[in-house]
Amino acid sequence: MNGRGGHTGPAVRVAGLVKRYGRTEALRGVDLVVERGSVVGVLGPNGAGKTTLVRILATLVRPDGGTAEVFGYDVLRHPGEVRRRVGLTGQFAAVDELLTGEENLVLIGRLAGMDRGRARRRADELLNRFGLRDAAGRTAQGYSGGMRRRLDLAAGLMTAPPLVVLDEPTTGLDPRSRVGLWEVIEELAAEGSTVLLTSQYLEEVDRLAHHVMLVDAGEVAASGSPEELKDRLGAPLLVLTLGPPGAAGPGARWDAAARVLSRYAKGAVDVSLPLGEISCRVAAGARVMPAVARDLDDAGITPDDMAVRRATLDDVFLALTGQPGSRAPAAPAGTPAGPGTALVGPGGER
């Protein structure tokens, strides 16, 4: 799955992409480069413009401004060449329910120009690989949600496309099917396929993608490797749980604990009474734990819990957009918005 003709640039190059639907701007000048052989995750809440971006790259939607190229072919000027190189798996599984699993794949292969024998061989290969061999002769209407997604993904891979585009491949799947699909995507990546993946799930892009682009309201909020993005929030957070302060207020125990943390803190020490927590950033990360524990012990304090946690992509998203996603439902009233708060990001439910 490499060696795309004589083209040597990136698999995808998008610059200043704009798409409007009436007065709504779905994309407001998006830039994106997907290097060959990489897995790029586009992360954002519903309505952020992820699907529009994907549809433009699959030549299903015409952009209103900017450029989008796939292996050097412009989506507007050479849509046929783009279609020959992109395998799309859409947001909801576009399988033909009245055809069997095998017929679905063979049809896609033949429509893509394969002869019958080649389409059959490729279909068998994919059915085996995706654990659909036993179901190959049954009509897809009897398939479970996970099986449908796998079949849909297989359909997108029939022509062994150099660029695989997956639009929210695991949305609506149960956790087990999701992990199963992740493994398939990881295999694809290991084989050197270029994968562009959209997701509402932070853990998904964190696990699969080499490069993450956060989009919100049609704009790129940030991009980089998952590690880089997390590092942007600075040092890991040390959280000390003391439990509810009680009717008399925080008192001496809390003051003593805060004094201990201040010795290790990089920056201020945050006291959150409602959460029963004291926290601060620590440059050295988890390595400070033994020392902090000793100091607390010396001060006669036994915390309920003590943990160091790295920033999550949730935190990054929150920090960059000021909220879980500007078009997502508003955060519950009274929830403090800021890095470190345990606010559930878009799709971050587990």
Binding site: R13, G80, L111, A112
Partner: protein, 281 residues
């Protein structure tokens, strides 16, 4: 991009385009649609039982009470009308099929493939053609049972069915346009019925136009359904009281029907294809 070369790796999907590819892909889609029919017995029943019901209802309910201007049997007159109505109504299935493919994401999948762009629509029209042929066969058999006959020999009988199938093919492009335009299956269903009923009933399909009010008669006389039904009656040798001195569709029904069908295809097919290419875009 400065370094794009024209040579493609050998395993990339074919670059073949043009009419041959369109026909090949269209047949693949048609084959898929026909498989659907085989797997949903209701569709098959609808396609075969419904025409029989029409023949029986009209033949026995109206059969006795409609006088034919110039004489002749109403049942012999009626069959060509029902043939025409059924092939016209088949376009509703084309419309629904396309609307369902749209709403289920199948259209997106096809549009993202390097296949002939109009193959989904052509395939629909082609499978509709096969379904129409099946319906006509069942209709003709039930017509024979109630006393209808084709009196003019094999060649003219086949010609009549050819005219009907061509008309049905043209109508399926109107159905395709409706389906691709409106998209949502519920809406498409309602919309097709809205134009199909007046189209088929404001004609000579079921009753001769002679009895209609004078302001309505020209509409019925120039209706492509009338021309098609009259063409069949002429080719079958059935009673054909459509004739009026100097009225072109009455004097040349076959030519009129073929011209109508060609015109409808020439208008509806490009519009449907254009709409398909931009679907949901």
């Amino acid at each position: 991009m400065s370094t794009v070369t024209a040579t493609a790796p050998p395993f990339l999907p074919g670059t073949e385009t043009g009419p041959r590819r369109l026909v090949r892909d269209g047949l693949l889609v048609a084959q898929r649609n026909l498989r659907h029919v085989l797997r949903v017995p209701e569709l098959l029943i609808q396609a075969t039982i419904q025409p029989v019901m029409f023949v029986l209802l009209f033949a026995f309910v109206f059969g006795g009470s409609i006088d034919m201007p110039g004489g002749g049997s109403y049942r012999a007159y009626l069959l060509a009308g029902i043939f025409t109505q059924i092939v016209a109504f088949g376009s509703a299935n084309t419309a629904m099929g396309i609307a369902e493919d749209l709403s289920k994401g199948v259209v997106d999948r096809f549009r993202s493939l390097p296949m002939a762009r109009s193959a989904l629509l052509l395939g629909r029209a082609a499978s509709h053609l096969v379904m129409n042929a099946l319906a006509l066969l069942v209709l003709a058999l039930s017509g024979l049972v109630v006393g209808w006959r084709a009196e003019e020999g094999v060649a003219r009988t086949l010609a009549a069915f050819g005219v009907l199938l061509f008309f049905g093919f043209a109508m399926s492009w109107v159905g395709a346009l409706t389906g691709i335009w409106l998209g949502r299956p519920e809406v498409v269903q309602a919309a097709t019925m809205t134009w199909l009923f007046p189209l088929t009933f404001l004609s000579n399909a079921f009753v001769p136009t002679q009895g209609m009010p004078s302001w309505l008669r020209p509409v019925a006389e120039w209706n492509p359904v009338s021309a098609t039904a009259a063409a069949c009656r002429e080719l079958f040798g059935n009673p054909n009281p459509f004739a009026r001195e100097g009225l072109f569709p009455a004097e040349h029904p076959v030519l009129t029907s073929l011209a109508w069908s060609a015109l409808v295809i020439a208008i509806a097919a490009p519009l449907a294809v254009r709409r398909y290419r931009r679907a949901a875009g």
